[in-house]
Amino acid sequence: MSAPSATAVPGDTGRSRGSLWSKAVYKLSRDRFGMTGLAIVLVYLVAALGVWFGLWGQGWSDVTGPMWAAPSGEYWFGTNVIGQDIFERAVYSTKVAFEVGLVVAVLSTLLGAVLGALAGYFNGTWIDELVLWLKGVLDSIPFYLFVAALAFALKGYAYSMHVAMIATFWTTTGRLVRGEVIKLRGFEFVEAARALGVPEFKIIFRHIIPNTFHILLVQATIVFVAAIKSEVILSFLGLGVKDGVSWGLMIAESTQEVLAGQFNNFIWASVFLFGLVMAFNLFSDALQDALDPRSVA
């Protein structure tokens, strides 16, 4: 996204002696869209934590109201076909979305970092070949078929969707980290560490991977968004969230309701989903602008 470059430039010159990170934080804090996005994400996070600690959203499965009640003081967003409160369900789903997003983002980014760093560090050896081969293979299997097959292979394991996403979403991170590590391993600090006799795995994990952190951070936000969006489609296809409720399941049940002219379920699940994804996209863009000195807006 376009950063307000006119305001950032005079500040940058005064801080040219700061570290990459302090400059990035400064640049990020001046990005209006990015900070708005971050604020909205934090609101969602509070909502999710509240559900986690049992403060609200606990009545998501209670059948309390009449079928398809209109929005009112009691049912803020109305009720669904069997009389469940749509507001409660939408809020509870925030927690589910964060669970999916965080688990997949953290684990697949870690996997991408480790495999990418190994491939980059041992560039040209069989390890590199193996990782590249694995990436090529995973990228060539149609994603939804892979998830469906894994769901059946794992015999209805409740987290098969998470496993499938982690297994496939690391490939982009891995490719980017590999490229960066190939560059880094020629640097003097790596040479110095090797000359001092630091073991190779320690060079990789202590010296090289921390230097790819700017890539990992941006990739984690991108994967977070991808995971939430995929959850919606997978839940609709019956491959997603197994117990509880999610925005995807709400939209799936609303496909019957919209044909009967009942839009509350569809609209509110969509609005909640759109808000979080949009806010995260804005934040992710700002992060990318702040962390990549070469980026051109």
């Binding site: 149609p142 097959a149 609709f236 609303s254 569809f266």
Partner: protein, 317 residues
């Protein structure tokens, strides 16, 4: 001759990829997939009948033999008959792939063409309000789920709550006008969802090319803007554009669009494959996954040749 040599070497180097895709899919979809034995049997089967059906389905043979059989089927492109319907797999694919292609092709082409076009406009007005409007729209488009777009477009165009101009679902295509009627709403949804991602990607590519020295020089020589955009910028940024388009082709052709097909009830190859996974129809699965892998390798080759076509400096070695 040089090209042929290159093509053969490239195809040979694609064999590990095909082996990997087929092996992983084989383990997941065939070895751990649903067991069809009892579906094909009557009530209270005898041990003998059970064994007969298992033998017929090939379940009783060792793992490596079955995988070897699969590879042989892939090289001869003969996958036998579907376990569920008894239809020849090749016939089934011959019937469903054209439907998926007809369904996804317009959206795919339009999504990329409009994406490049919008990206050119945005890059040309870089930093101005037109650029900000287009890129802001792209972020909004990227944030809307495909599923939501499909439902919203269906409501808008095909239901009595909207314009009610197109059929709600299905695929009853016997003439061009039928085709247009059934393909319009899925295409609109596809284009809508793809446009955000495409525009952003293409704009980044084009802006990077715009900041090159040769563009500045051409501008200094007074090249008119449209010529600058087409000849100096677009033509030089074709490599990443071709890469993006080519690599989405195998997935579009073979797996179709599972979501669109299952939502609109269209009997394309995506839907057939999904059903094959849930029912454990192994011959169909083996065919679809194997062909996707082969197509991927062919695409890799074709992409390299296209690089050479658009940029003579690229050498095939």
């Amino acid at each position: 001759m040089e090209l042929l040599q290159y093509a053969i070497r490239k195809l040979v180097s694609g064999i590990p990829l095909i082996l990997g895709v087929t092996f992983i899919s084989f383990v997941l979809m065939v070895y751990f997939g649903p067991d069809k034995t009892y579906e094909l049997l009557g009530k209270n089967p005898t041990q003998e009948q059970i064994e007969q059906v298992r033998h017929q389905l090939g379940y009783d043979r060792p793992f490596l033999v079955r995988y070897g059989d699969y590879l042989r089927e892939l090289t001869t492109l003969d996958f036998g008959h579907s376990d569920s319907t008894g239809e020849r797999v090749n016939g089934l694919l011959g019937r469903t792939i054209p439907i998926s292609l007809a369904l996804t092709a317009p959206g795919f082409v339009l999504g990329n063409l409009l994406g490049v076009l919008l990206a050119l406009v945005a890059a040309y007005h870089r930093g101005g309000w037109i650029d900000k409007l287009i890129m802001g729209g792209a972020v909004v488009g990227m944030s809307i789920s495909f599923l939501i777009a499909i439902i919203a477009f269906q409501l808008l165009f095909s239901s009595s709550y909207g314009l009610n101009m197109f059929p709600v679902r299905g695929w009853d295509v016997y003439s061009l006008s039928d085709y247009v009627r059934y393909v319009t709403v899925p295409t609109l949804a596809t284009v809508f969802v793809a446009l955000g991602y495409n525009t952003r990607f293409y704009r980044a590519v084009i802006v990077e090319e715009m900041t090159r020295d040769h563009v500045r020089t051409a501008r200094a020589f007074g090249t008119p803007p449209w010529k600058l955009l087409y000849k100096n910028i677009l033509k030089n940024s074709l490599i990443p554009i071709i890469t993006r388009i080519m690599f989405s082709i195998p997935l579009v052709v073979i797996s179709g669009s599972l979501l669109i097909e299952s939502y609109f009830g269209i009997p394309g190859v995506g839907k057939v494959t999904y059903d094959a996974i849930t029912t454990g129809d192994q011959p169909v699965l083996k065919a679809v996954v194997g062909l996707t892998a082969v197509l991927f390798v062919l695409t890799l080759l074709l992409t390299d040749i296209l690089y050479k076509v658009v940029d003579p400096r690229v050498s095939l070695k």
